[in-house]
C-alpha cells in the first residue's frame, strides 16, 4: 500500500525575542514568539482528569509533547497477586471502565487457556460472552465519539450518544446486577443466564441505538466545523503501526486491518459474519469513521449471535472450577467442601504462564498470567491497548496546534483505568 500523503510543515526558523532581527520572522508562522511550556491536564476537562500532557509551544504551535500518565494507577497487577483468580474479575471491571465486559471476557479467556479448559466452555456461555462483549464495544465507541464531539462543542451529539449508551448499560445491568462494574463473567462461563425476554429487549434497544447513531452521523460526518478539526489532523502512518504497537481503531484507521476477532478468532467469532472497517490516511477523521462503522458491525454481530444463541448450561460442570448450586452446598458435604475451597483457596490453576489476547474496545487487550499452582496468580500483567496507542501521541502532536490536542487525544481514546492500571 502506498504511503498516504502527509502535509509536511513548511520550514521554520527558531525565533527568540531579543536575539533575532525582524527580517528573520517567518510569515507562515505568524508573530514572533518564544518557546513556552504549557501543562494540559490533569485537571483539564478534555484530559478526562487522568493524564497530563506537558507541551512545549511556540505560539499556538506544539514543538514537543510529553505524555505523563499514571494518575489513575491503582496497582491492579500487584493487587492481583493477593486475590484469588476469581476475585480479580472486579478489578478487571475497572480497567477500561466504559467496556468492562470485554475486560471480563479477556481475563476469563486467559485463565481458561492456562487451565486448558477452553474447549469445555458451554456454547451458550460463549455466545453470551460475545453478546455482552459487543454491547460493551458499542458503549465504548459511543462514549469515545460522544465525548469527542462534546469537546468540539457538539453537545447535542454527546447527549444523543450517551443516551444510547445508557439504554445498553441498563440491559447489562439487567444481566449482571450492576450498571457499570458488571463482574459478570466467570472462569468457566458466565455467572447468570440472560433474563427472560432479554434478547427481544436488546433487539428493540438496538433499533433505537441505530437511530441515535444515524443522528450523530448526520450531525457530524458532513459538518464543516467538525471536519475541519478532524481531517488531516494527527496523521499516523501505516508503518508506524507495528513500530509503536498500535492496535484497534487507531491501527485500523491507517489501513491496517488487524482485528483479533478476525485474525485470531476466539469464542464463536469465526461463526459470525462481520467486516473490519479500515481508514486510509490515519487521521482523526478516519478514527472517528472507523469507530462509527464498528458500532454498526457490532450490531450486526449482536443480531446474528442472538439468532444463533443455543440453549444449554452457562458454566462448566466441574465443582473444582465453578461454585456448586447453593442447594447442593447447603445439603451435601462434597459441594460444601468445593464451595469452601473455591472461596478460601481459589481455583487451582496448574503452574505455567500464558499470554491471551482479545479485541478490546481500544485494540488488543492482552493478559499475561503466571501461575505457581495455587489459587492466586503469581503474576498478572495486562497489555492495555491504549497504553501503546497513547504513546504515539508523543510523535503525532508536535507540529499541530494546541487546539488539535483535544480531538487527537480524544480519538486515541485513552482510558485512565486501563492505561494506568
Amino acid at each position: 500500500m502506498a504511503e498516504p500523503p502527509i502535509a509536511t510543515p513548511p520550514a521554520r526558523r527558531r525565533v527568540v525575542f531579543g536575539e533575532a532581527e525582524v527580517s528573520d520572522y517567518d510569515e507562515l508562522d505568524g508573530l514572533p514568539t518564544e518557546s513556552m511550556p504549557l501543562q494540559m491536564g490533569p485537571s483539564h476537562p478534555a484530559m478526562h482528569g487522568t493524564v497530563r500532557i506537558t507541551l512545549d509551544v511556540e505560539g499556538e504551535k506544539i514543538k514537543t509533547a510529553d505524555i505523563q500518565i499514571g494518575y489513575l494507577h491503582r496497582c491492579f497487577e500487584k493487587e492481583s497477586e493477593s486475590a484469588t483468580w476469581t476475585q480479580i474479575f472486579p478489578y478487571t471491571d475497572r480497567l477500561n471502565y466504559v467496556s468492562p465486559m470485554l475486560n471480563n471476557v479477556g481475563y476469563a479467556l486467559a485463565v481458561e487457556k492456562l487451565l486448558g479448559i477452553g474447549d469445555r466452555i458451554p456454547e451458550r456461555a460463549q455466545y453470551i460472552r460475545v453478546i455482552v462483549g459487543e454491547i460493551s464495544r458499542i458503549t465504548d465507541h459511543l462514549t469515545c465519539l460522544g465525548a469527542s464531539a462534546m469537546e468540539l462543542a457538539a453537545f447535542t451529539v454527546y447527549f444523543y450518544l450517551i443516551k444510547a449508551r445508557e439504554w445498553l448499560w441498563e440491559l447489562l445491568e439487567e444481566v449482571s446486577g450492576a450498571r457499570l462494574t458488571h463482574s459478570y463473567v466467570r472462569i468457566g462461563g458466565v455467572v447468570a443466564d440472560l433474563p427472560e425476554g432479554w434478547p427481544a429487549k436488546l433487539l428493540a434497544v438496538l433499533a433505537k441505538v441505530r437511530v441515535a447513531v444515524a443522528d450523530a452521523d448526520q450531525l457530524l460526518t458532513r459538518n464543516k466545523i467538525f471536519r475541519d478539526r478532524m481531517d488531516g489532523i494527527g496523521i499516523i502512518r501505516q508503518d508506524e503501526v507495528a513500530a509503536w504497537g498500535l492496535t484497534g481503531p487507531v491501527a485500523r484507521s491507517t489501513g491496517v486491518a488487524y482485528d483479533v476477532r478476525k485474525d485470531h478468532p476466539y469464542l464463536v467469532y469465526d461463526r459470525l459474519d462481520f467486516d473490519v472497517p479500515v481508514g486510509a490516511t490515519g487521521d482523526n477523521f478516519d478514527r472517528y469513521a472507523v469507530r462509527l462503522e464498528e458500532i454498526m458491525q457490532s450490531m450486526r454481530i449482536l443480531e446474528q449471535a442472538l439468532a444463533k444463541l443455543p440453549p444449554g448450561p452457562i458454566l462448566v460442570d466441574d465443582p473444582r472450577l465453578t461454585l456448586p448450586a447453593k442447594r447442593e452446598t447447603y445439603n451435601t458435604i462434597e459441594a460444601m467442601i468445593a464451595h469452601f475451597k473455591l472461596i478460601m483457596d481459589g481455583i487451582h490453576v496448574p503452574p505455567g504462564e500464558v499470554y491471551s489476547y482479545t479485541e478490546g474496545g481500544n485494540g488488543e487487550l492482552g493478559f499475561y498470567l503466571v501461575s505457581n499452582g495455587t489459587g492466586q496468580p503469581w503474576k498478572c500483567r495486562v497489555r492495555p491497548p491504549c497504553f501503546a496507542n497513547l504513546a504515539v501521541l508523543n510523535r503525532v502532536l508536535p507540529g499541530l496546534f494546541i487546539a488539535d490536542v483535544v480531538p487527537t487525544f480524544g480519538m486515541i481514546n485513552m482510558i485512565g483505568g486501563e492505561c494506568d492500571r
Binding site: 465443582p319 473444582r320 447442593e328 458435604i333 462434597e334 469452601f340 478460601m344 483457596d345 495455587t374
Partner: protein, 524 residues
C-alpha cells in the same frame, strides 16, 4: 530418611510411573514416592507413627500384585514397578473418598479444621465430584469431652486412628480406642477413663479433620487468618521446635515443628500454653520504685545508682542472670557485668525445677540453662545463696535480668535494677525497672539440654516500651559510658559465637518471613 544415610545402605531400583529411581532397601513406598515429588494422598499415615493402612487412600498398583496395595504399608523392593496415577488407582481413591464423605457432617463453616483439613484438600485434589446419595447421614455425638484439653466431634471423625497411635506410641498411654463397627464406629475412651496424658494435644495436630479440637484454640480464630513463625518452645530445657501461630499481634496457639534431633513431630501439653504469659500481666513501661517513670529518666537513674554502688563497694554489687534469657541477652549482660561494672558476684535464677519424663519433658523448666552457664563460665550462685547474701548485707546492689517472680525484702539490697518482662514482686520492689521483651517478641538463640543452639524468632511485635534484653543492656551500658553499639540480635549472636566454644557451630539461619497459612501455604 536422609540422603547421607541412604548412601551407606543397600539400594534398590524402583520404577514409579515409568521413571526409574533408587531408594534404600526397606524404605516405605509412600515416603519414597513423596521424596521424588510423586503425590499420593493419605489420611492414616503419619511420618512419626506406625502405618495401619486403614484409610485406603494411598493405594497404588504394583506390577504382579493382583490387587492395589497401600503404599504406606509396603517397603520398596528391587525391580518394583509402581503406578500411582492409573485410571484404576484414581478411581479407587475417588471411591474411598466418597465412602469417607458419606457420613461426614456439613460442618466446614463451623469447623476449626476448615482451611487446614486433609479431607477438604484430598476431596478437592482427587475427587471433585458432587454427591450421589440422597440418604440421611448417621448421627453421632457432636461434643464429647474427652479430657482436660480435648473435645471430640464423633461425626467428623474419619476413623484414621492416628490419635490412638499418638497415645500408644508417643505418650505410651493407651487411652483412646475405636468402638462399634461399620458406619457406627466411633472414637472413644474406655468407660470412666479420660484422655489426660501429657501429650494429648498432639492428637489434635495429627487429626486430619476437625474431629479432635483443642478446648483452648477452638472457635478462637480461623486458621487462614494465622501467621506462622518458626521458633523454640521456652517451656523447658528440651527446646522443642515449634511454630508460633498468631493473628493481629496475639499468639493463638503453639504447634510442634518437625525436628528429628529434638522432638520429632511432638510437644507436650504444658508447652502449648507457654504463649499465655506473653500476653498476661506484662510490664510495659519503665518504672522507678514501682511507679511509672520516663524511660530516659529510669535509664539514667539506673546507671547513676549502679555507678554509685560500684564506687562504694564493688564487691557488694551483684548481677542475676536468667536461665530463661537468650544467649544474646546473656552475652550482653555478661559484658556489662564484666567490662563496664567489673563485678564478680554472679547469680543465676529461673523457673523452679518440676516434673520430667523419658519422652520430652525436662525437670529443668528453663530453656537456656546450658547457654547461660556456658556464657557465664560455669555454674552460677543460686537464688538461695542470693537471698542469704541479701539478708546478711553482703549484697548492697543487684542488677537483675528476667526473674520477674523474684521477691526480695524491702530496702535490701539498697539498689535493685531490674530488666524484667512481667508485673510482680520484682517490679514492685525495684529501684528502677525497665520492660523486657519475652521470647516471642525477639530474635535470638536458646541452647537446649543437648547443647543444640536453636533459633527463636519474632512472632509478635513487642508492646509499649518493651525492648529486647540486649538492647536494654546496651542502652544501660551507654548510660554508664561504654555502649557496645549492638545493631541487631544477629550482631550480638555473631560476637557471642566468636567467644564461647559451645556456640562455635551455631548458625543464625536465613531470615524467614511469617507464613500466612492460606493459599499455597495452607496446611490442609
Amino acid at each position: 530418611m536422609t540422603v547421607d544415610s541412604s548412601q551407606r545402605m543397600e539400594l534398590v531400583t524402583v520404577v514409579i510411573d515409568g521413571r526409574t529411581y533408587q531408594f534404600p532397601k526397606g524404605m516405605n513406598l509412600l515416603e519414597a514416592c513423596q521424596s521424588v515429588g510423586v503425590r499420593i494422598p493419605f489420611f492414616c499415615y503419619h511420618p512419626g507413627l506406625s502405618s495401619p493402612a486403614v484409610c485406603r487412600q494411598c493405594l497404588v498398583e504394583i506390577k504382579g500384585s493382583p490387587k492395589p496395595v497401600p503404599s504406606c504399608y509396603t517397603p520398596v523392593a528391587d525391580k518394583m514397578e509402581v503406578t500411582t496415577d492409573s485410571p484404576k488407582v484414581l478411581d479407587i481413591r475417588r471411591q474411598m473418598l466418597e465412602f469417607t464423605l458419606l457420613n461426614h457432617p456439613i460442618d466446614c463453616p463451623i469447623c476449626d479444621k476448615a482451611g487446614e483439613c486433609l479431607l477438604q484438600r484430598h476431596y478437592f485434589d482427587w475427587d471433585g465430584k458432587l454427591a450421589r446419595n440422597e440418604g440421611s447421614k448417621v448421627r453421632k455425638a457432636k461434643v464429647v469431652d474427652l479430657g482436660k484439653h480435648i473435645v471430640l466431634d464423633q461425626e467428623r471423625c474419619i476413623l484414621c486412628t492416628r490419635c490412638i497411635r499418638v497415645c500408644n506410641e508417643v505418650a505410651k498411654a493407651p487411652e483412646l480406642t475405636m468402638a462399634y463397627r461399620g458406619s457406627h464406629e466411633v472414637l472413644t475412651t474406655a468407660p470412666g477413663h479420660r484422655l489426660d496424658n501429657p501429650y494429648s494435644l498432639n492428637t489434635v495436630d495429627v487429626c486430619p479433620v476437625g474431629a479432635l479440637t483443642s478446648k483452648d484454640f477452638r472457635f478462637s480464630r480461623r486458621v487462614w487468618e494465622l501467621l506462622a513463625v518458626s521458633s523454640i518452645c521456652p517451656g523447658c530445657a528440651t527446646g522443642c521446635s515449634i511454630e508460633v501461630h498468631s493473628s493481629r499481634g496475639t499468639i493463638r496457639r503453639l504447634v510442634p515443628r518437625e525436628n528429628p534431633a529434638v522432638n520429632r513431630h511432638w510437644m507436650c501439653d504444658e508447652g502449648r500454653f507457654e504463649h499465655k504469659a506473653v500476653h498476661t500481666s506484662r510490664a510495659l513501661l519503665a518504672a522507678m520504685g514501682g511507679k511509672r517513670a520516663r524511660f530516659e529518666d529510669a535509664l539514667a537513674e539506673a546507671a547513676r545508682r549502679l555507678r554509685a554502688a560500684v564506687a562504694a563497694d564493688r564487691g557488694a554489687v551483684g548481677v542475676l542472670f536468667s536461665y530463661e534469657a537468650s544467649n544474646e541477652d546473656t552475652h550482653a549482660l555478661a559484658r556489662l557485668a564484666g567490662e563496664i561494672l567489673g563485678i564478680e558476684r554472679r547469680y543465676g535464677g529461673g523457673k523452679a525445677a518440676g516434673w520430667s519424663d523419658e519422652i520430652l519433658v525436662s525437670a529443668d523448666k528453663n530453656p537456656n540453662t546450658r547457654g547461660v552457664e556456658g556464657i557465664a563460665g560455669g555454674p552460677l550462685r543460686g537464688l538461695d545463696e542470693l537471698r542469704a547474701d541479701v539478708a546478711s548485707g553482703a549484697l548492697q546492689a543487684l542488677l537483675v535480668l528476667g526473674n520477674s517472680t523474684l521477691a526480695l525484702p524491702e530496702g535490701k539490697p539498697a539498689t535493685l535494677v531490674a530488666l524484667t518482662s512481667h508485673q510482680g514482686p520484682l517490679v514492685d520492689r525495684a529501684t528502677v525497672s525497665l520492660p523486657l521483651a519475652t521470647w516471642a517478641e525477639v530474635d535470638g538463640t536458646f541452647t537446649n539440654r543437648q547443647g543444640h543452639v536453636q533459633r527463636i524468632r519474632t512472632a509478635v511485635k513487642a508492646p509499649g516500651e518493651v525492648a529486647p534484653g540486649w538492647r536494654l543492656i546496651d542502652r544501660l551500658a551507654g548510660a554508664l559510658g561504654g555502649a557496645f553499639g549492638f545493631a541487631s540480635a544477629e550482631a550480638v549472636f555473631a560476637e557471642a559465637k566468636g567467644r564461647y566454644p559451645f556456640m562455635k557451630d551455631a548458625a543464625w539461619g536465613p531470615p524467614l518471613a511469617p507464613v500466612h497459612l492460606r493459599f499455597g501455604e495452607s496446611r490442609g
